[in-house]
Amino acid sequence: MNNELLRTPLHGLHVSNGGKMVPFAGYDMPLQYAPGILAEHNHTREHAGLFDVSHMGQVRIIPRNGNIEEAAKAFETLVPVDIVGLKQGRQRYALFTNENGGILDDLMVSNFGDWLYVVVNAACKTEDIERMRNALAASCIVEPLESRALLAVQGPEAAQVMARLLPETEEMRFMDARIMSLGGAEIFISRSGYTGEDGFEISIESIDAERLATLLMEQPEIKLIGLGARDSLRLEAGLCLYGSDLDTTTTPVEGALEWAMQKSRRAGGSRAGGFPGADIILEQLANGASRRRVGLKAEGRAPVRGGAPLFSSADSDSQIGTVTSGAFGPTIEGPVAMGYVTTDLAAPGTPLFAELRGKRVPVTVVPMPVVPSRFRR
């Protein structure tokens, strides 16, 4: 039944380690291993976890004239983000937008000196690559790095593990990106991740991926972690899951992602606008949007999950929002969720109600992240 699913280069390692495999974005991926989601989540928060994120799309963007600024300028036509100002060796979060200001995908962009390194979501990568090829063809070569795996090492002990294996990583700060050599393999390494913890993401040729994963798993701090814990970790960290919390119907302002849009791309900036949906997004930056993504904490233990309608009172008939993703947060030992509400009800502390199985459950708007991030700034 799963023979149409794609496999990452670490598929065999997941299976041999008891991974419970599930379909995710067209790939056969590990939901969890024997310890289970709770234990894997807690291990990542306390020690370090190894995640296979090889299903994500990795792309190299090479300016045809060798000038990185050409690539950066061209890339800025797709994102409301300052790419020209992204220094060599730095990484930045970005968003592909459409003509309506909706979000087509979220991504990471790194400047490696003479090329840009882009990581996009697995479910969007075909469209993303086509979009980049169409928009950048005149000035850039868009090269999907299909033969590379991507591993994430996340947790408070990730840095000591990487320092042991690769001492040069010690000088990296949050969102630094470097090309290094590890055991003879060229790696692209960034100090970043999607758990709210300090950590690294490492891109390596597929042929070397299992060797690196095995080396990492031999480190006493590290355990293999599945997608289930990745989801609860990112939720507690207030990070969006594209397709649930962000999609083509949500704008960056509605998504509370203003921080991802630097001054240079905003009204009055040196390269204001010039991205798809700029008129709508700039207008919303100036005047606000009618709804907004917020964090939600529920009373009790019942997880409030994606799709649950939100109301302003226990008996109101008019829905004021919807939960877009939610789970039980092992670190906060309670439900954690995010969703969209009308902007007048988006202030932290606002009491709301989520409807669960026909009952109204009290929830409160809370600042995100609900678990403080521990990035090494």
Partner: protein, 121 residues
């Protein structure tokens, strides 16, 4: 004391006209660690196949169905503080609810331990 099983991986232990209901070790294993359990209020009348309870893992919610017709008389309050009891002792302290049978003849259509084991095989 007779224990029956369902194809939905529940067990029922019959005590007079009361059935104690839980999920099997196989189901507990499949669901993973549970973090929340909610049973329909005592007094709720259910038909076979109606949702009687919800158990939630970190990742997902799953319905527990009434294995036969009857009325919920009690839920296992110990699960409120420790839903992991279901994972740890699914066929013991991890029982989920007790229901009063209204149509005991339905028990005949359920599985015995041997038939349930064969279902898993």
């Amino acid at each position: 004391m007779t224990t029956y099983y369902t194809r939905e991986h529940e067990w029922l232990r019959i005590e007079g006209d009361i059935a104690v209901v839980g999920i099997t070790a196989h189901a507990a294993e499949e669901l993973g660690e549970l973090v929340f359990v909610e049973v329909k209020d005592a007094g709720t009348t259910l038909s076979q196949g109606d949702s009687a309870a919800v158990v939630e893992s970190v990742k997902a919610a799953s319905d527990i169905y009434a294995p036969v017709d009857g009325e919920i008389v009690e839920s296992n309050t110990a699960l409120g503080d420790d839903p992991a009891l279901i994972s740890n002792e699914p066929e013991g302290k991890g029982w989920i609810f007790r229901m009063r049978l209204s149509n005991p003849a339905q028990l005949d259509s359920l599985l015995d331990a041997e038939a349930y084991a064969a279902l898993l095989a």
